[in-house]
């Protein structure tokens, strides 16, 4: 499963995309993914907010994930 990273999340992780090892079979939902990321990158917990987009739509924590989805981290937006 690959996760696209933008803005400050890209800088925290150090890459513009993050590969979740296939062994991480506990990542069934958006919420699971968030927890997994927070434990590996504690800096993410300091953000004002952190959303996840699944197939370029904002997703709720209980949304299931599959390797076919395009997943992205959405830190607080600041366009305009």
């Amino acid at each position: 499963m690959e996760i696209l990273l933008f803005g400050i999340t890209r800088e925290i992780v150090g890459h513009s995309a993050l590969r979740v090892p296939p062994g991480e079979e506990t990542l069934h939902t958006v919420g699971d993914l968030k927890n997994w990321l927070a434990s590996r990158y504690p800096e993410l917990k300091k953000l004002s907010s952190l959303a996840v987009a699944v197939d370029s739509e904002y997703a709720m924590d209980d949304q299931p994930l599959s390797p076919q989805n395009e997943i992205a981290l959405i830190p607080p937006v600041s366009g305009g």
Partner: protein
């Protein structure tokens, strides 16, 4: 509607698109790079977008505006990349039969864009830089 993520926004392009014989009022909002933010001197801004999702979110906002007000034309252009002080970053434009809808919809579009569209701005000052809104 004309909705784009571009390297440089173009006022003339927006105005051309907004032309409609049925329109009596056009409201255009142009966001530009200001030389200061929270008391600090801004040297430049760098914008980054998750483009496919940003375009989708912009279209959703545009659809909501068109459902709410009688609009003849609607434009949303947002720039990415490095922008210097004075440069335009975003152009929102609305043409309507009457000015009330044009003003109200234009304001709605820029307000909503700032809330939901996945675009990020990094502000560069003399000595450091920061991702705007990232931290509480």
């Amino acid at each position: 509607m004309l909705i784009r993520i571009v390297d440089q926004v173009d006022l003339q392009e927006a105005y051309q698109y907004l032309q409609a014989p049925t329109a009596g009022g056009i409201d255009l909002f142009i966001g530009t790079v200001r030389d200061n933010a929270k008391g600090k001197n801004v040297v430049k801004l760098v914008f980054e977008a998750y483009a496919p999702m940003a375009l989708k979110e912009m279209r959703k906002i545009a659809d909501r505006a068109q459902a709410q007000w009688p609009l003849e034309r609607l434009v949303m252009l947002h720039a990415v990349g490095e922008k210097r002080v004075g440069e335009p970053v975003v152009i929102i434009g609305v043409a309507s039969a009457h000015r009330d809808a044009a003003f109200t919809a234009c304001r709605f579009l820029i307000d909503e864009l700032k809330k939901t569209v996945p675009i990020w701005k990094k502000e560069y000052y003399q000595d450091n830089s920061v991702w705007v809104n990232a931290h509480p």
